[in-house]
Amino acid sequence: MTSILDALVTGLVYGGIYALLALGLTLQYGVARILNLAYGDFLIAAAVFATLLYQRFQLSPLVSLLLLLPASFLIHLLVYHLVFVQLERRRGSWRAMEASSILLAFGLSFVVSGAMLAIFGGKLFSYSYLLVPVQLLGSVVPANRLLALVLALAFGGFAYLLLVRTRIGTAIRAIAVDPDGAPLAGIDVRRWAGLTFAFGGIICAASGVLISMFQTFNVPMGVTFTLKALVVVIMGGVGNAVGALVAGLILGVTESFVARFISPGLTLAAVYGLFVLAVLTMRTGIFGRALR
């Protein structure tokens, strides 16, 4: 009984973070129309920097966030305008760009992870931060995980409110549902798509830092984070923030139960299983509607 509870709590903690990381990808895909296959590699880059800052300068990951989030924003904005806008120019239209952008992002993934591999190789990163046990729902969770979850939900909730409550957030959702109609509302689609891509980059870096607080990781793991984010995006529906939350929790709990009761070696297989199921059965996600 306690082991079920443990698995559930662990699953929910991971799930909340998966929801956040998927929110960044779903914004990039839904609004900028870029399926960013380099997402997990950028996430790992942020996690690596947070670790180094902690180890070399004793900088708390909370402080690292203040440095890494703006940095990630700028890098993603640059990547958007230097790489993807150029592609759009060549392709002539933004629809024709969608397929080639996947290949470009795939290439970008190799560049980012390749550079990091050259520097760090496959070595494992971890640091012990807030490693104190906390009682939660009758189970014991390390404080770092709990903090990561709380921050993930806070970031995600904040991003959601921005999207739903503000004029700019509404414009961003309008681009997602009707990119051709948006200019007639005076919306500069390319500008806001770029800023949304970069905003997704902020969420990506935040997820990376939060994950580094409690999980051991190495550079080659970038691709598994891309995969997990993709699973959640497809299950939750592209551009759907609430869907991402629910799908993230489902993924986290599934992983945790498979690891606990079947075999830890099969968690990735379970992720793939969910991915295939999601692709085959849900064309529009759990809630059937984008961006609600």
Binding site: R167, T170, A171, R173, A174, V177, D178, G181, A182, P183, L184, A185, G186, I187, D188, V189, R289, A290, L291, R292
Partner: protein, 239 residues
């Protein structure tokens, strides 16, 4: 004054409109009549920079917008004070009435006057107040047209272009919708309307013209157009 000068648009080798020139004064309602495929939508879309003209100019109060038009910078053209309610569209159907009107005032030019414009738009279409939080896609065709016109008004336009706003509406609703145009024009907004419904549109317009196979013919006052035998034969049926 909105001035369209010798606008020509090709789709491939086929000229959809040829050398179309047209002027609209502030506060004036001008209607362009034309059959299916005459080039009405093309004329309005080219004016907004949504299709690239092969030649011609668009001027707004003497300011040449042609370079914006040629570079497809529709959002900047909106920022200059031109707005289009496109055929069947002009709303974000996945968003609510409130959100659509919020985005109507997205252009910077619209912000200062947002409150008055919203009041004005809701005075024209009081029904929208009851549908405030309804998703536009779930509303009736007539209500969706209201949202589209209201959204366009919130951009603080100097000139409002309307592409067949009565399309698919029952005659009573079509009449109701066109009846708001004089109230809009009374605010000093110039209205350029393209229509197939000659009866209703000539009744609210001061001037009109006929677009036939991509060329503008019969430009004259609305009253004269109504009496023109050729126009009567083509657009006014036997009535």
């Amino acid at each position: 004054m909105l001035e369209i000068r010798e606008l020509t648009v090709y789709y491939g080798l086929h000229a959809a409109i040829r050398n179309v020139s047209l002027q609209v004064e502030p506060g004036e309602i001008v209607v362009v009549l034309g059959a299916n495929g005459a080039g009405k939508s093309t004329l309005l879309r080219a004016t907004m920079g949504m299709v690239r003209p092969a030649s011609g100019h668009v001027l707004l109060d003497g300011l040449d917008l042609t370079s914006l038009v040629r570079r497809n910078l529709t959002h900047q053209i909106v920022e200059q004070g031109l707005i289009l309610v496109p055929e069947r569209g002009g709303t974000f159907t996945d968003l609510t009435v409130r959100e659509n009107l919020l985005l109507g005032a997205f252009p910077r030019r619209a912000r200062a006057k947002e409150k008055e414009l919203l009041e004005f738009a809701l005075s024209l279409f009081p029904r929208l107040k009851e549908r405030w939080n309804q998703r536009v896609g779930t509303m009736s065709g007539g209500e969706q047209r209201m949202v589209a016109v209201a959204r366009a008004l919130l951009s603080a336009p100097r000139f409002l272009l309307l592409d067949e706003p009565t399309l698919g509406l029952a005659p009573v609703l079509a009449k109701q919708l066109l009846r708001v145009l004089p109230q809009i024009a009374a605010q000093g907004i110039g209205v350029l309307l393209v229509e197939q419904n000659a009866h209703l549109s000539l009744a609210v317009a001061q001037r009109g013209a006929v677009l036939s196979n991509g060329e503008l013919v019969h430009a004259s006052s609305a009253a004269e157009l109504q009496d023109d035998p050729a126009v009567r034969a083509a657009y006014l049926g036997s009535q």
